[in-house]
């Protein structure tokens, strides 16, 4: 009887591996890291635009030797008024040119972070379903249960061989049933997510492209101001320092110009499409999925690096 049970186990295993959710574990983890890179690119890009904007403002004030004042929010004990609209910037302690409106803290505002957060949560949920660590925990628990049952049966003098084999079969059956259910849900939900992810990828690409263009525009004028101010540097050391900063700024501009946020977002969509196709295909297409995801991850990393770069001296 034990031999029969072992044969059944092997036969079921051969069928079960075709429906294992763990086959694409590494690819899905890479996909999740690519989405994280896009999220970092959004954060770095919007932060970079804000910093570039402030840097440009400082250069303009330095050039004109403007008279600078503090906002009323800098006063001790003063409760900042909940200003809205054009006066919202006065609610925080900052500097501004005297007798002129307080400049906006950021050059652009966007909710792309919310959009990419939805994608991150989805990618994390995919990674959780294909996580093999909890499967190992289940196997360990089932093994412990099987041993305990064998001990009980041994103590009452029954056939331990059959008890052990039955225990193994129950443990294997439970794990395989859960794996099959996981694969089924993974296949179904990725197919459902295909259309919304495609839409979000398209819009995220547009948003990242706009953020990239904003950074280039701000840095271009910063570089203009630096170039203009070179002749006014008091000494050679200051001139060299300003020149080095100018060159670093042009390098950052070039890195941003050659990055392609729309392509990075499109590659994310393509990689997900490959995954959906592979899950629906009985033959499995691990190599195709891996290649598509690798391309997406590389572009996302490059975009993140471009958005993070840039001097704002």
């Amino acid at each position: 009887m034990s031999h029969m049970i072992k044969v059944v186990l092997v036969a079921v295993a051969c069928t079960a591996t075709a429906c294992s959710p763990y086959v694409y574990k590494d690819e899905i983890n890479s996909f999740a890291s690519g989405v994280d890179n896009l999220s970092d690119a959004v954060k770095a890009g919007t932060k970079g635009v804000a910093e570039d904007h402030q840097s440009l403002q400082r250069l303009k004030w330095a050039k004109s030797r403007a008279m600078i004042a503090l906002t009323i929010a800098c006063s001790p004990g003063e409760q900042p008024a909940q200003n809205t609209g054009a006066r919202a910037a006065e609610s925080v302690c900052t500097i501004h040119e005297a007798a002129k409106p307080v400049p906006k803290r950021t050059a652009i505002e966007t909710k792309a972070g919310v959009l990419v957060k939805g994608l991150q949560e989805y990618a994390a949920a995919l990674a959780a379903v294909t996580n093999a660590a909890d499967r190992q925990a289940l196997d360990d628990a089932a093994s412990s249960l099987g041993q305990s049952i064998s001990t009980i049966v041994t103590a009452v003098g029954a056939d331990t061989g059959s008890a052990g084999a039955v225990g193994d079969l129950v443990a294997f059956g439970l794990g395989t049933a859960l794996d099959f259910e996981r694969f089924r849900v993974l296949r179904k939900r990725t197919a459902e997510a295909q259309a919304p992810l495609s839409e979000l990828g398209k819009r995220l690409g547009t948003a990242l492209d706009a953020i990239r263009d904003a950074r280039v525009a701000e840095l271009a004028e910063v570089a203009q101001m630096m170039a203009t101010s070179l002749q006014a540097m008091p000494d050679q050391a200051s001139y060299a320092e300003r020149l080095a900063a100018l060159q670093a700024t042009t390098v950052a501009i070039q890195a941003l110009r050659v990055s392609n946020p729309i392509n990075a977002a499109q590659d994310m969509v393509k990689a997900h499409d490959k995954l959906v196709t592979a899950l629906a295909d009985e033959k499995r297409q691990v190599a195709a999925v891996g290649a598509a995801i690798k391309e997406f991850v590389e572009k996302a990393k490059a975009l993140r690096a471009a958005m993070t770069a840039g001097t704002t001296s």
Partner: protein, 276 residues
């Protein structure tokens, strides 16, 4: 036939286990869960314990336990039948089939924290029973529907309002980008400082316009109904995947609990075995 004290004890033990198994099945939520395995451990453990007190092949303790198990299990059901028959019409036989009952009267209420039964009898098949072939067909059809067309469609799809708005902004951006390029070129070619300063001021003003267009582009994307709808649909898939990921952990926890119970029983059995 006389019944010994030991047999009566084994019978009562079985009644308790059987009653409890029916009780657990009656109050479990929805689909059968892997945590129900703990009730099986109770049944198996009970049987093993009776085997301690006599040779299972010749002693009548195990049969008495089994009879008690059946008596307890079906006794619960019989009790429900008796209570339904004496409910003065509040419950009828149809309650056993699909749980329907009459609404409580005006002077009656069911407190909100009352435990809800999922089924008075029979197994809950729930929504977990699906036809695999139909599901696979759904998945394949979804993949085909989302795949690019193999031929050029003669009629281009109508652009959405969002796409149309973004197209208009893109055209405006192209125009401003052209102006910025020209200004930068003229700044680089002039040696007159006054003229250069005026060109830089013009560049700065044009850049402000460009930034306004970029902000408009971002706002169109942020507020587009397509993005909101897509986020909502993606969240549904995300939540379903999270629930599925949690099931494996719940199953592992349930089995670990069952293993602890079984280990405890094994210790008791191991302790008592030398004395039998």
């Amino acid at each position: 036939m006389t019944i010994t004290f030991a047999e009566f004890g084994a019978f009562c033990f079985g009644v308790v286990i059987g009653w409890f198994v029916y009780f657990t099945n009656r109050y479990r939520k929805g689909e059968a869960q892997f945590s129900d395995i703990t009730t099986l451990v109770g049944i198996i453990g009970g049987g093993a314990l009776t085997a301690l007190f006599g040779d299972p092949k010749t002693s009548s303790l195990f049969p008495a336990y089994c009879i008690g198990l059946a008596a307890g299990f079906f006794g619960y059901f019989v009790t429900l039948v008796v209570m339904v028959s004496k409910s003065k019409g509040a419950f009828t036989w149809s309650w056993f089939l699909d749980g329907r009952r009459r609404k409580p009267g005006e002077d009656e209420e069911i407190l909100p924290d009352t435990r809800v039964t999922t089924a008075p009898m029979a197994l809950q098949l729930g929504l977990g029973r699906r036809v695999s072939a139909l599901e696979q067909g759904h998945v394949r059809m979804a993949a085909i529907a989302n795949a690019p067309l193999a031929f050029e469609s003669p009629i281009p799809p109508t652009p959405s309002p969002t796409d149309e708005a973004l197209r208009v902004v893109d055209q405006a951006k192209l125009a401003v980008e052209g102006a910025l390029r020209e200004l930068m070129e003229r700044i680089g070619q002039t040696t007159d400082p006054v003229k250069a300063e005026k060109l830089r001021d013009a560049y700065s003003e044009t850049r402000e316009v460009y930034m306004d267009l970029l902000q408009l582009q971002l706002k169109i994307v942020d507020d587009s109904p397509e993005v909101q709808a897509a986020l909502a649909k993606l969240k549904v898939a995300t939540d379903a995947l999270k629930d599925e990921a949690a099931r494996m952990k719940e199953a592992a926890d349930a089995i670990a609990t069952a293993a602890k119970v079984a280990a405890l029983i094994a210790k008791v059995v191991g302790f008592l075995a030398p004395f039998i």
